[in-house]
C-alpha cells in the first residue's frame, strides 16, 4: 500500500514525483532509454555502410582518400574535449561551483560550434570539387589532385552516370609557381617524369564505378550526426541560460547530467564515424 501525495513544495520537482531523487532517477532512465533509441536510429546507417563496403570495397579504398584525415582528427579531438567539459559541468553543478559550471557549458557550446565550422569547411570543399552524393557526383579531380574532365549532363539527366565519358586531364608541365615550362627543357622533362610516377598511383586514376555511393554514406552519416550536434547546441544554450539564472545546485542538476549523457553519445558516434570514413586501409 502506498500513500498518495502530490508534491507542491519544491519548485524544481514536478507535482507527480515523490521527491527530487525520484525525479532524477526517472529522468536518468528516460535519457538512457532515449539513447538506446538513438543507437538504433543510427544503426541502419551503419548497416548500410557494412553492406556497401562489403559489396564495393574498392570504392571505399579509393574514395576515402578524398577526405582529409587532418580535419577528421582535429574534430575528434574537439569533440572529445567537449565531452570532458560536459562531464565537468555535471561535477561543477554537483559541487555548486556556479562560475565553473557556466565556463564548462560555454566551452562545450564553443567546441560544438568549432566542430560544425570544420565540418562546414570540409563540406564546402566537397561541393567545390564535386565529390558529393547521388547524381551530382562529378569530381573535378582525383584524390591525388589530378584533374578530371567530367562531362556535363543534359538537364534532368544523372551526371554521376556519365562516368564512362570522364577523362583524366593531361596538363602541359608547369613550374611550381604555375608558369608554363619551355617544352623540351630539362625542367619540363623532369616534371613530366614526376607526373608519370604519380599517375601510376591508383589515386591518380578515375574513380571506380559507384564511387558516389561512398559520398551518399558519408553525407548521410555525418549529416545526421551534424543534426545531432546542432540539437546538442540548442540544449546546451538552454542549460547555459538556466545556469546563469542560478537554477542548478547540488540538489538539482538532473538536466545537465542528462544533456551530458546525450552529448557523450553524439561524441561516441563520431568516434566510430572517424575511423570508418577517414581511416580506411
Amino acid at each position: 500500500m502506498s500513500h498518495h501525495t502530490i508534491n507542491g513544495h519544491d519548485a524544481h520537482v514536478a507535482h507527480h514525483f515523490d521527491g527530487p531523487q525520484h525525479q532524477f532517477d526517472s529522468g536518468k532512465l528516460g535519457m538512457w532509454t532515449f539513447l538506446a533509441q538513438e543507437i538504433l536510429f543510427f544503426s541502419a546507417l551503419f548497416v548500410a555502410y557494412i553492406v556497401f563496403r562489403y559489396n564495393h570495397p574498392e570504392v571505399f579504398a579509393y574514395a576515402h582518400k578524398y577526405l582529409d584525415v587532418k580535419y577528421g582528427a582535429i574534430n575528434t579531438a574537439v569533440l572529445i574535449f567537449s565531452s570532458l567539459s560536459a562531464a565537468w559541468a555535471v561535477r561543477a553543478a554537483q559541487k555548486n561551483q556556479q562560475k565553473l559550471l557556466i565556463a564548462c557549458l560555454l566551452t562545450t557550446i564553443l567546441c560544438a560550434f568549432a566542430f560544425l565550422g570544420i565540418k562546414y569547411v570540409e563540406y564546402k570543399h566537397k561541393f567545390h570539387i564535386g565529390t558529393v552524393y547521388g547524381c551530382n557526383f562529378a569530381p573535378s579531380e582525383t584524390p591525388n589532385g589530378t584533374k578530371i574532365d567530367w562531362p556535363e549532363a543534359p538537364k534532368g539527366q544523372c551526371r554521376a552516370l556519365k562516368a564512362s565519358e570522364a577523362k583524366i586531364v593531361v596538363e602541359p608541365p608547369k613550374a611550381a609557381d604555375g608558369t608554363p615550362l619551355e617544352p623540351g627543357s630539362p625542367e619540363a622533362l623532369k616534371a613530366i617524369a614526376e607526373a608519370d610516377k604519380n599517375s601510376t598511383s591508383r589515386y591518380s586514376q578515375l574513380p571506380p564505378p559507384n564511387t558516389s555511393m561512398f559520398f551518399s554514406i558519408y553525407f548521410a552519416m555525418t549529416g545526421l550526426h551534424g543534426i545531432h550536434v546542432l540539437a546538442g547546441i540548442a540544449v546546451f544554450i538552454w542549460l547555459l541560460v538556466r545556469a546563469i539564472k542560478g537554477h542548478f545546485s547540488e540538489a538539482y542538476f538532473g538536466p545537465i547530467d542528462f544533456a551530458a549523457l546525450y552529448w557523450h553519445i553524439v561524441d561516441l558516434i563520431w568516434i566510430y564515424l572517424f575511423p570508418l570514413l577517414y581511416l580506411i586501409h
Binding site: 500500500m1 507527480h16 553492406v51
Partner: protein, 556 residues
C-alpha cells in the same frame, strides 16, 4: 485496511473531467487521462476514415472491371487505407489512447513519468496525421503503405508529405513507449513487485520496448527515403550502386516488430478481460508475463519472412522460416493459459468478455495461417495473394482491433463515468464476429486459388468470393459505426458508472469512475487488493458495482 475507502471518500474530489473545462484546459493539458481521451477521439476519427476507404475498395471489387474508381485511384485507396489503419489507428490504439489512460492508474501513480513529453507525443501524432491527410489532398500516394523503393522514389504521387507524416508518427510512438517504460519502472507502488503487476502492464512494457528499439529504424529509413526524394541521396538507387532491397530489410526490421506493437497490447488486455470475467485467478501468470517479453525479443529476429521472394539467400530464408515458427510458442502459451483460466470458471458474458472470446478464436485463425506463410515453399505460392491479406487482417483487425474494442468497452465506464447500453453492445459485437469472418474467410479461399492482392480487376471466377467479402465488409462497416455510436450515446443517456462495474481487482477499479485529477484522492492511502483474487468481491455496492465484502476481513 478496508478497501472500500476509495469509493466512499472520492466523491468529494471532482473528476478529471469536471476539474476544469474549456478548450484550453484540454489543449494544453498534461493530465495523462485527458491526453488518452484526446488520442481516443483522434484514433476513432481516423478509424472511420480508414474504414471508409476500405469500403470504397470493397465496393470497387464487387464486380470485375472498373466500377467506381480508376485503377490509379484504387492504388491510392489501398495505400491510404493501410497507412491510416496501421500508423494512425492500430499502433497507437491501445498503448497511446487506452494505455495512456490506465497505466498510471494501474500503478496508483498520479501521472506518467513525463507528462509534458506525453502531450508532445500527442501533438507529434496529430501533426503526422495531418501530413498524411495532406498527402491525400496533394493527389494521394500509390506505393502501398510499405513505401517500397524503387517505386516510391520514382512515382510522381505525394510521397514526401506521407513519409514525413509517418516519420513524425514514429517519433510519437517512440516517446510514448519511453514514457511507459520509465513509468512502469519508477512508479510501482510499495507492495507491487514486477510479478505482482497486472498482466496488462507486462504487455504494455513489452510493447514499449519494441516501440523504442524498432521504430527508430523506420524513422531513419523514412528519413533516407525523404532525402532521396528531395536531394537524391542515392542510397536506395540501383543506378548508382544503391540497394532498393536494403529498404525492404530496414522497413521490415521495424514493421515486423510493429506487428507485435499491435498484438502485444491486445494480448495485454486479453489477460485482464479473461480473468475478470471468469472471476478466477489468471492461469500461469509468470508464463504469460515472460511470453510477452519473449515475443518482444523474437519479433526482432523474423523480419526476413516478408522477403522470401525478394532474392534473399536460401540459407537466410531457412533461418527466418525456423525463427518464424518459434513465434508460435509464446503465442500459444498465452492462448492456452487464457483457455485454462476459463476452465471451470464462473464466466460472466458481459460485452467486453464477448470481445475477448472472439479475440481468442480470431487470433487462433490469424496465428495459424501465419504458419502457412512462414513455410517457405507454401509462401512462394501464397506470397502477395489475398491469403496474405486475409491473414494479416485476422491479426491486425480480428485480433488487435477486436481487443481494442473489447478494452474500450471494458474501460469506457472508467474513462467517461457512463455505462453504455449493454444489449446493443453484445448484439453488435456478435455481428462484428459474423461479418468479419464473412469478409475475410472468402479471401483465404481466393488467395489460395491465386487471386493476387492489390489488384484492381480480377478473373470472373473470383466474383462470388469477392461479393461475399464485400457484403461482409459493408455489414462490418455499418456495425462498427453503430458500436461507436452506442458508446457516444451513453455520454448523454448512460447510467452513472459504478467505481467497479466488472468486479476487477486491479487499481483502476479502486477509484471512482471517472477518477479524480490525480487518479486517487490526495493524501489518502491507496488500497492495493490481492491481484486476481475474486473471493472477497460481490456485486452489491450501493452504486450497483462490485465491492469487497465488509465482513470478510480481507486484508488488502
Amino acid at each position: 485496511m478496508s478497501s472500500e475507502a476509495a469509493t466512499a471518500d472520492s466523491v468529494q474530489e471532482p473528476s478529471y473531467i469536471d476539474v476544469k473545462s474549456g478548450f484550453w484546459s484540454w489543449f494544453v493539458t498534461i493530465d495523462h487521462k485527458r491526453i488518452g481521451v484526446m488520442y481516443l477521439i483522434a484514433i476513432l476519427t481516423a478509424f472511420l476514415l480508414g474504414g471508409f476507404f476500405a469500403l470504397m475498395i470493397r465496393a470497387e471489387l464487387l464486380l470485375p472491371g472498373s466500377q467506381l474508381v480508376t485503377a490509379a485511384t484504387f492504388n491510392k485507396l489501398f495505400t491510404v487505407h493501410g497507412a491510416i489503419m496501421v500508423f494512425l489507428v492500430i499502433i497507437p490504439g491501445i498503448p497511446a489512447a487506452l494505455g495512456n489512460f490506465v497505466v498510471p492508474i494501474l500503478l496508483g501513480a498520479p501521472d506518467v513519468a513525463f507528462p509534458r513529453l506525453n502531450l508532445a507525443s500527442y501533438y507529434l501524432y496529430l501533426s503526422g496525421a495531418l501530413l498524411l491527410i495532406l498527402s491525400l489532398f496533394l493527389g494521394g500516394v500509390d506505393t502501398g503503405w510499405t513505401f517500397y523503393t524503387p517505386y516510391s522514389t520514382t512515382t510522381d504521387t505525394a510521397v514526401v508529405p506521407a513519409v514525413a507524416g509517418a516519420f513524425l508518427l514514429g517519433f510519437s510512438s517512440i516517446f510514448t513507449g519511453l514514457n511507459m517504460i520509465v513509468t512502469i519502472h519508477k512508479f510501482k507502488p510499495k507492495g507491487m513487485g514486477w510479478f505482482k503487476m497486472p498482466l496488462s502492464l507486462w504487455g504494455i512494457y513489452a510493447t514499449s520496448v519494441i516501440q523504442v528499439l524498432a521504430t527508430p529504424v523506420l524513422g531513419l529509413t523514412l528519413l533516407l527515403l525523404f532525402v532521396e526524394r528531395i536531394v537524391g541521396i542515392g542510397i536506395f538507387d540501383p543506378a548508382l550502386g544503391g540497394d532498393p532491397v536494403l529498404f525492404q530489410h530496414f522497413f521490415w526490421f521495424y514493421s515486423h516488430p510493429a506487428v507485435y506493437i499491435m498484438i502485444l497490447p491486445a494480448m495485454a488486455v486479453m489477460s485482464e478481460l479473461i480473468t475478470v470475467f471468469a472471476k478466477k485467478h489468471i492461469f500461469g501468470y509468470s508464463f504469460i508475463a515472460y511470453s510477452s517479453i519473449g515475443l518482444a525479443l523474437l519479433s526482432f529476429l523474423v523480419w526476413g519472412h516478408h522477403m522470401f521472394v525478394s532474392g534473399q539467400s536460401t540459407l537466410a530464408n531457412m533461418v527466418f522460416s525456423a525463427l518464424t515458427f518459434s513465434v508460435a510458442i509464446p503465442s500459444a502459451i498465452k492462448v492456452f493459459n487464457w483457455i485454462a483460466t476459463l476452465y471451470k470458471a464462473d464466466i460472466h458474458l458481459d460485452s467486453p468478455m464477448i470481445w475477448a472470446l472472439m479475440f481468442i478464436l480470431l487470433f487462433a485463425i490469424g496465428g495459424l495461417t501465419g504458419i502457412f506463410l512462414g513455410t517457405l515453399n507454401v509462401d512462394v505460392h501464397l506470397h502477395d495473394t489475398y491469403f496474405v491479406v486475409s491473414h494479416f487482417h485476422y491479426v491486425m483487425m480480428g485480433s488487435a482491433l477486436i481487443a481494442f474494442f473489447g478494452a474500450l468497452h471494458y474501460w469506457w465506464p472508467k474513462m467517461t463515468g457512463k455505462m453504455y447500453a449493454e444489449k446493443p453492445a453484445i448484439i453488435m459485437s456478435l455481428m462484428v464476429f459474423f461479418s468479419f469472418n464473412l469478409t475475410f474467410m472468402p479471401q483465404f479461399v481466393m488467395g489460395s486459388r491465386g487471386m493476387p492482392r492489390r489488384y484492381f480487376d480480377y478473373d470472373p471466377r473470383f466474383e462470388l468470393m469477392h461479393q461475399l467479402s464485400s457484403l461482409g465488409a459493408f455489414i462490418l462497416g455499418v456495425t462498427l459505426f453503430c458500436i461507436i455510436l452506442n458508446l457516444l450515446i451513453s455520454l448523454k443517456t448512460g447510467k452513472k458508472a459504478p467505481a467497479n462495474p466488472w468486479g476487477g481487482t486491479t487499481l483502476e477499479w479502486q477509484t471512482s469512475s471517472p477518477p479524480p485529477l490525480y487518479n486517487f484522492p490526495v493524501g489518502q492511502p491507496i488500497p492495493l487488493p490481492e491481484l486476481y483474487e475474486y473471493d472477497g468481491l460481490s456485486k452489491d455496492a450501493e452504486d450497483g458495482g462490485w465491492q469487497y465484502k465488509k465482513d470478510a476481513g480481507n486484508e488488502a
